[in-house]
Symmetry: C2
Subunit: 315 residues, 2 copies
């Protein structure tokens, strides 16, 4: 199989943790319900490919995300590999109770940098959402559960347009101050460019938040996800969200496209000599299998290219 | 229309010249013949969108590239905008004669960094191809025609695998020494990563070839085209090859995919505050129109996203 030659670049971390969001962020917008057995196999195959952090599902109300209505069943039946963390998205105290009852050890909460998205996604102001999260984080930590925070619309908002960097930092600091161990900066609509990433990291650093407390979460809507990721790594970030096969489009907004594809990220990091622990052929085979189950090609360039090359070899 | 916010990054050029290859490199592998009127309209629309260098066609023998068999007719009929250059690919002396007869002022030749591709594409060794190019370049320059050189397989070869950096530099220096004014480094199979780009530019600099004599030509097969472009810009390169809409897949090798999409490049450069002179909405509209003529969606993420957003607005 083709692979990149290794040419390191100065100023990059030796190792990057990939926070795999495919089973949750990737699948949640699939209109056709994916059987729970397929989800369990996906999670198991991702772990077998070397991913060590796999966001498995969400306890958002099934009315909003019917695809993940089987969260309890998935968590009760899926295999867990040693050394792998399986965080679960938890929107509120009720979700936390469900997660704790199933022995979940890692959760994620989902905040917004903008008032419009907070209102639309959480039905609250940003300030009210912080009040909602505070007891969730406190009770999770009391139970020994680690809490990660997502912050969406960090680089632009579909209704508000540009989002000031200071507004993003203010919201992010509040989430971290609640007791979250890490903050994932989301470019939910994919509009950001590398200088924007660098500026946002600098603004967080000026507010006392170093890159070791941050992660990045890019969508590839305008093709910028990978170049933005490299900008974040240059800024010291060592945790990157990605979705196997680049899944994650939204059927209700055709202009919203998938996450950074884990394979495209691994290709770059492999070429740069940055360790991820991920076996690319195994991961790409998993995404090709999932694409077959979802009934359409993977958006990942690497998965497309490797699948095409494999098909040619067979001819 | 959505657009990126502007956040400059240190160490980048103020202005980048986009060398648009869509009409030639993009179209040449299209199996269904595109009418010459459509090609002329494409070239005109690209110029109207602000592109100042547009490779219009090729004088390669029609047996090898039937799509561009109408080169004479296109050049005789297409409109030319003031201040815009329209280079033509010329493989040999016979092609040069055809170009000179039509008053072409800019040509490009196409060399290979590897013996296998030289044999397959030019039916010659690398050394023999240099002998073939020498009189072409000399006669072109004597006629006041500027000659650009492409060098393919600079980052890997589908038959030979890894390609040593020193071998690429040796072939590139020979092309420049023939009298070419600029050398475009091609990642024909798209395997390169940013550290590889940086290492290759450093090797050229060590051989006395600065970035002002280089351009980069990336294919997005593994999703690396844009991140590699930024690495090249950091290395001082100011001319970037790209294809409107990202067209350029090869129907004979499904694992070969298109060029870097001009729109995805312009989005990034616009966000970085790097001047290109290109009007993105106009360019994206051109690529959406061309995709309709070619009968399939553009591979460009930006074109896909803007087209989808426009469709939503109309609903």
């Amino acid at each position: 199989m083709r692979a990149p030659q290794e040419f390191p670049l100065d100023g990059l971390p030796e190792r990057v943790t990939i926070y795999e969001v495919g089973p949750r962020d990737g699948l949640q917008n699939e209109a056709a319900i994916v059987p729970v057995e397929v989800k369990a196999e996906l999670v198991a195959r991702l772990a077998a490919a070397g991913l060590t952090t796999i966001e498995a599902t969400s306890f958002v109300h099934p009315k909003w995300v019917p695809q993940l209505a089987d969260a309890e069943e998935l968590l009760a039946t899926m295999d867990r590999a040693p050394g792998v963390r399986y965080p679960v998205l938890v929107p509120n105290e009720r979700g936390l109770s469900r997660a704790l009852a199933l022995g979940v050890t890692d959760i994620a909460i989902f905040g917004s940098a903008t008032e419009t998205f907070a209102r639309r996604n959480l039905n609250r102001t940003v300030a009210e959402s912080m009040e909602m999260f505070a007891p969730v984080v406190a009770r999770a930590r009391d139970s020994g559960v680690a809490v990660r925070a997502y912050l969406s619309m960090c680089f632009g908002d579909p209704w508000e347009g540009p989002v000031p960097v200071g507004q993003v930092v203010a919201a992010g600091v509040r989430l971290l101050d609640l007791g979250c161990h890490r903050l994932s900066l989301g470019d939910t609509i994919g509009v950001g460019t590398p200088g924007h990433v660098t500026a946002l990291l600098a603004a967080f650093a000026a507010a006392g938040v170093g890159p070791e407390r941050l992660a990045v979460h890019f969508h590839d809507t305008y093709g910028q996800a990978l170049v933005n990721t490299l900008a974040a790594l240059r800024g010291g970030v060592t945790e990157v969200d990605a979705s196997a096969g680049g899944i994650g489009g939204c059927p209700y907004a055709r202009s919203a496209t998938g996450n950074l594809a884990t394979e495209d990220l691994v290709w770059m990091l492999s070429g740069l000599g940055v360790e991820t622990g991920v076996d690319l052929p195994s991961l790409a085979a998993t995404s090709a299998w999932l694409a077959g189950r979802l009934g359409r090609p993977s958006p990942s360039r690497v998965v497309q290219a490797l699948s095409a090359a494999a098909a040619e070899t067979k001819e």
